[in-house]
Symmetry: C2
Subunit: 598 residues, 2 copies
């Protein structure tokens, strides 16, 4: 591994010398600013061996470094060994960002090469003291087996399935563009495109997206998506294209964006783009074709509109969490037997869970890679269960399973930490305090206008009072048969002015991680909804969508208040009431026992 990556960096240095570049930046994202890129754009992994989800590489003549945050320090040290790549720590006091580091090392005007396709337009502006050399697909010349741009089958979703037709969505977006006095918008973020067009694909693992660009004018829409000749396409995709064309969407080649932009140059005299997701190469292209003055920079309104789920989507989420709960309860029943009977490891458990989800009609895959972690493994915040040699799950201590499914009627994300037998006092304390925080946040009522950062402390206070904490956010938005992480809202300590709005679906997942001992996370997903209006204002509350019992065996009841115990008993009774009609015999009896009041 090590010499492999060492050699790749050396070959990049040859390229640098030929180009006369002082430094190269390689990022871990794709041309669409995706959180998880397709394998073609796992460039950081290819050159350094680092597989974490967040990290950028800088290579100079005499240095190679990986910039990543606290979550990945241990993993980075292990994976970078022998590669010659040094770790630069981010989100720590005294951190030095890439622009700062470069500014310290190189004079103004130094030549910094980037693959502009994989850098946001916004990020490049922080490097304005340098000469930026944009080399789209820079690594292709070195990376002989580099995967192609994916082109998986494309499906369309009907208005009945998603609650709003693509026509209505485009109309609403055009209303926004009118208000900004714009004649067009270039959408480059993949989940925004999928949402706007009501299309889904599987170009990226776990994310039902189609790699493409979308150009929206006052009347017409061009989707730059095709990577093959029409003859090479599967019948489903051809059907989808036909339906889209009937709706006035012009299907174009993914590589024809420049031509498409040029063609509309006269009509689109004011074009709206979001610099946080637009890549640098395409941003420059737009600026060249339309002129800087014709560009209107701003945040895409699609992000917010997409996050507020409509009635059909909400009904879909309820259905998804119902089916998902059935699968998860079957899994937990199976697991308990298996662990008691003898041998099961984390990997086997993970496969079993996926196979149970796969039985659900409308299942399209998992929404992220299952985290199936026993004992101390669960303390690694981004543990990846190994296919071979994963840990045995023993009949004591805690097992953590964080998983979710993609269904055509919704996306799920749920974590249960399960006592497999006797637990230590510390395990039980941590288990109870994390649960207490999750319940306290679940019970919150708050005025319209409240943001997640204003109520995040509710989920943490029980831990804080015991001088314990967790290093990740408490909650993230989730998409509807889209990405399991989506904005604009979240629940975390960092300030985020976006209020929680009725219709938003957000996770509630406090945790605690003790290296070498155990890791605990309790995660439900909650729907924000109206709770009435009076002289003090308009009130909102959460409804928990997730349906899977919370094991009471590891709870220390004295650490919970009366209302918390009441919430828990009501929740478990609700789970039994909803799910038990689908179970019989031993399994039903098991769930009955699991959901008895504390």
């Amino acid at each position: 591994m090590s010499s492999l990556h060492f050699n790749r960096i050396e070959s990049l240095r040859s390229l640098m010398r030929r180009g006369g570049w002082d430094a190269v930046i390689i990022t871990g994202t794709d041309p669409h600013g995706s959180e998880y890129p397709a394998s073609r754009w796992k460039q950081v992994e290819w050159i350094s061996g680092f597989t974490g989800e967040a990290g950028d590489i800088v290579v100079t003549a005499d240095h190679a470094g990986l910039w990543t945050d606290t979550r990945y320090f241990i993993q980075a040290v292990r994976e970078l060994e022998g590669s010659g790549v040094a770790l630069h720590k981010m989100r720590v006091p005294g951190q030095v960002s890439i622009p700062q580091w470069l500014a310290e090392k190189f004079p103004e005007g130094a030549r910094v090469a980037v693959d502009g396709l994989c850098q946001s337009y916004e990020a490049i502006s922080a490097l304005d003291s340098f000469e930026i050399v944009d080399v789209p697909d820079m690594l292709s010349t070195l990376w002989s087996e580099r995967p192609d741009i994916p082109m998986t089958p494309i499906e369309t979703l009907s208005e009945e399935e998603v609650g709003k037709s693509r026509g209505a969505k485009l109309e609403s977006l055009r209303g926004f563009l009118d208000s900004k006095d714009c004649t067009a918008m270039l959408v480059t973020s993949l989940d925004e495109i999928a949402w706007l067009l009501n299309v889904r694909g599987s170009d990226i693992d776990y994310n039902p997206l189609v790699i493409s660009y979308l150009l929206i004018g006052k009347e017409e829409v061009s989707w730059f998506v095709r990577k093959d000749s029409l003859e090479d396409l599967d019948p489903d995709t051809l059907d989808s294209f036909e339906e889209l064309e009937a709706d006035g969407v012009c299907i174009c080649g993914y590589s024809d964006l420049a031509a498409g932009l040029s063609q509309e140059q006269d009509r689109y005299d004011r074009i709206f783009v979001d610099p946080s997701t637009l890549n640098y190469t395409v941003g420059k292209l737009v600026a060249e074709i339309y002129g800087e003055d014709s560009i209107v920079w701003g945040r895409s309104p699609v992000v917010l509109e997409k996050s507020v789920k409509n009635e059909v989507e909400i009904a879909g989420f309820r259905e998804a969490y119902y089916e998902d709960g059935i699968a998860l309860e079957k899994f937990l029943f199976w697991l308990e037997q298996k662990v008691q009977d003898g041998e099961v490891d984390e990997w086997e458990a993970s496969r079993k869970l996926t196979s149970l989800r796969a039985e659900i009609p409308g299942y399209r895959g998992d929404s992220f890679e299952n985290i199936s972690a026993y004992g101390a493994n669960a303390a690694l915040p981004h543990y990846v269960t190994p296919e071979k040699g994963s840990a045995k799950i023993l009949p004591h201590g805690l097992y953590l399973v964080d998983s979710g499914g993609q269904y055509i009627f919704g996306t799920t994300d749920i974590t249960r930490t399960v006592p497999m037998g006797d637990c230590t006092r510390l395990e039980m304390e941590d288990y109870t305090l994390v649960l207490k925080g999750m319940i306290d946040l679940s019970m919150a009522v708050f005025p319209y206008g409240t943001s997640g950062s204003q109520i995040d402390a509710l989920a943490r206070m029980p831990l804080w009072k015991a001088h314990r904490n967790f290093g990740h956010g408490t909650g993230h938005g989730t998409g509807f048969y889209l990405c399991v992480h989506e904005g604009p809202q979240d629940i975390r300590q960092n300030h985020n002015a976006q209020p929680l709005l009725p219709g938003m679906v957000t996770s509630n997942e406090p945790g605690i991680y003790r290296e070498g001992l155990h890791g605990i996370r309790h995660e439900n997903v909650v729907l924000c909804k109206e709770a009435g209006e009076n002289e003090f204002g308009r009130w909102l509350e959460f409804e928990t969508l997730s349906l899977c019992h919370i094991d009471t065996a590891a709870i220390i009841p004295e650490l919970l208040g009366e209302q918390e115990i009441e919430w828990l008993n009501r929740y478990n009774a609700h789970v039994y009431e909803k799910l038990s009609p689908r179970f019989y015999g031993e399994m039903k009896q098991w769930l009955r026992e699991k959901t008895l009041p504390l």
Copy 2:
């Protein structure tokens, strides 16, 4: 009243015509950005009759308007009647600020006149599309009886009294200026000056401040403070000046600032100023004398340093709350007798309380005007108890008293809402829920780096769960024998990135206000302090400084949790333990009964 103010506005309009001004802005602050100005700068009141603490006036040829926020709407309507001044509502949806309103009414380049002494440099920048006509002391020509700039006796505080000598404070500030590559700083905020020089005066009611400017160089310090000839000064002030001069502080005339700045022009090639408190007239002066390029704009570091109390100040606060508690308990005992015996009104109660505080050695005055409000009067957030015809306090319902003292060893601020006899179910519910929030915030533990906005919801959640709320912040910083309100920290819903730091003293004062019924506020002041460090980080908690029992008669115990009841019982027991040695007989017995566990 009405024709008086109408005529004053008309006379201002004459001035406007002579000057060729399109609009005049009159603000309610002084040349130092003070929250409460001396009477000389109560210009909004003089011209409009409006006495609220926050409001600005705009006069044009055909319109006069007062811009103020929600707290003052009712009061403004009453006080402005007949003056011809219209109310412009701020902090409401769709609000139109003064710059927006002017921009809608006048073309670019219109002439807007201001008294630049009473406008912050920062505020004027929002008016950059207009021609600003700066007329310092504009109203003096119309306002024949305008009060002079105050010059009250000045006292100095020793290192023993405040914990840090003025020499050490100035040295620390010079370290900051070095770090910014600055050779001087002009300090214009009065509480910063008082803190830096360890001086106090009484130029402003309730605020022990000295109206002055302070110019700090690398070696020398000039204090622009004298408004009289030396012979006219009282002996205390002369002693203070002598002490300051011995410490190297040059005493200058308040009106000699321009000359002083000019004199140092060559030595002070980079001068640091804070545009949030610097007034426009002086800002222009600095820019003229030193040149725009020599000015370094930034937030004054004094604000933060002043807010973190040292050991001497913390000991002083404990002493102040001990003495203050004695006075307040005496008052509450007296009040209960008086109300039961027969007749007492809000004003009489207020005077009694002040007289009890005045008995404390080191008392220098109240820290703000007592709010002494019975029944529905307490629902007015800024109720001013009238000297004549104030409401009788009856032996039922709730009486609210918000008050504080200035002592040479600290500043206090405390609110108690007291059941005077039978209360309605709603009064008791509100009383208990507000108290529950106050207790929940008191019990908070949080990691180093947490800001007030991250824990504000703790104080509100009990009310929020009952769909109730209050419209003010939960907590403000308080000074040490300085202003009862000070920054930079606070506890409120609005985002404020400033973390709560060990040594900060902040109020904890949730409330609820029901027009026509009752108003409730429970306010303690808390010290932020270290609570240990472990693998999860560095922990902070609050220690309650206020010492006065919380009446349990209006509590509905079922609405409190076990830990909240425990906190309350412990607090009341602590109050008894600390204060009772100073009481005898009936009074001691009374306090014993008031502090019995719930």
